[in-house]
Amino acid sequence: MKFGVVTFPGSNCDDDMIYVLRDVLKQDVVNLWHKDTDLQGAEFIILPGGFSYGDYLRSGAIAKLSPIMNEVINHANRGGYVLGICNGFQILTESGLLEGALLHNNNQKFICKNVYLKPANNSTVITKELDRDRSYKIPIAHGEGRFYAPEDMMKSILDNDQVIFRYCSEEGQLGELYNPNGSLNNIAGICNKGRNVFGMMPHPERAADAALSNEDGRLLFESILKNI
């Protein structure tokens, strides 16, 4: 499959993402510049982490207006796959491709550490091959990751089974104690109603290489490869 990884000014996880896709998973990858107006045949678009436009105004608020985003939005509306990680997730909520918003962490700190995630379903390409009875160790690194949606929007997200990952304990237990940033419902990642656009705050690309002694993130990408 051909992946497209978008680089915005201030993206800093694009190289890691490309490395995992190209060198670890042996996939075809094209690096797209935010001013591009063509996805160059990429079937799966990834918006990587970082600080696009220095997080000016709000995280992702300016990146959503980059020329490439028109193509990404058209691709998603045609049913094409899009995954936003960390800042990429913020860009997707700002652009309206995903519901909700990502607010400042409730402790007002930038949090950089390993957390544990529990897949909330097996009904998306990214969670299909995952085990719902175990936890996955994936790092987070963000200052604005507190997922929030107003009550009616939240109800619709839950009713449509759009949560894909929740923060949990190492043993896979859910609870406020394991919520690093104050996210509603312990939400770490969601998808759209069409189940082709995904956003998550944790960084699976930082846990996908044997040299890092943690390959839990690789399992998410392998699930994508197996199911598309």
Partner: protein, 84 residues
């Protein structure tokens, strides 16, 4: 005609504002414990060319809705003043 808009973007009342809370707590350290409920937002000043105040208002509304504020988490208010 040229208009000046002074825009305030604030976190929605229903939401926890951790920045405001931290500032609130620091008031105690400067002996101002009577100051409470600080909320921190953003002030934006911009200039707009328009044929009328109505038109200027329309442009500012669009700017607020499409870029300056995210209405899921923020509210906005503004004043528009003719300067030329």
């Amino acid at each position: 005609m040229k208009f000046k808009a002074e825009i305030d973007v604030m976190p929605l009342e229903a939401l926890l504002d951790p920045q405001g809370k931290a500032v609130s707590n620091s008031m105690i350290n400067i002996g101002l414990s009577e100051i409470t409920n600080v909320r921190v937002g953003r002030h934006i000043r911009l200039f707009v060319e328009a044929a009328s105040e109505e038109e200027a208002k329309e442009r500012v509304e669009t700017a607020c809705k499409k870029l300056l504020a995210n209405q899921i988490m923020e509210s906005y208010s503004y004043n528009i003043e003719k300067i030329q």
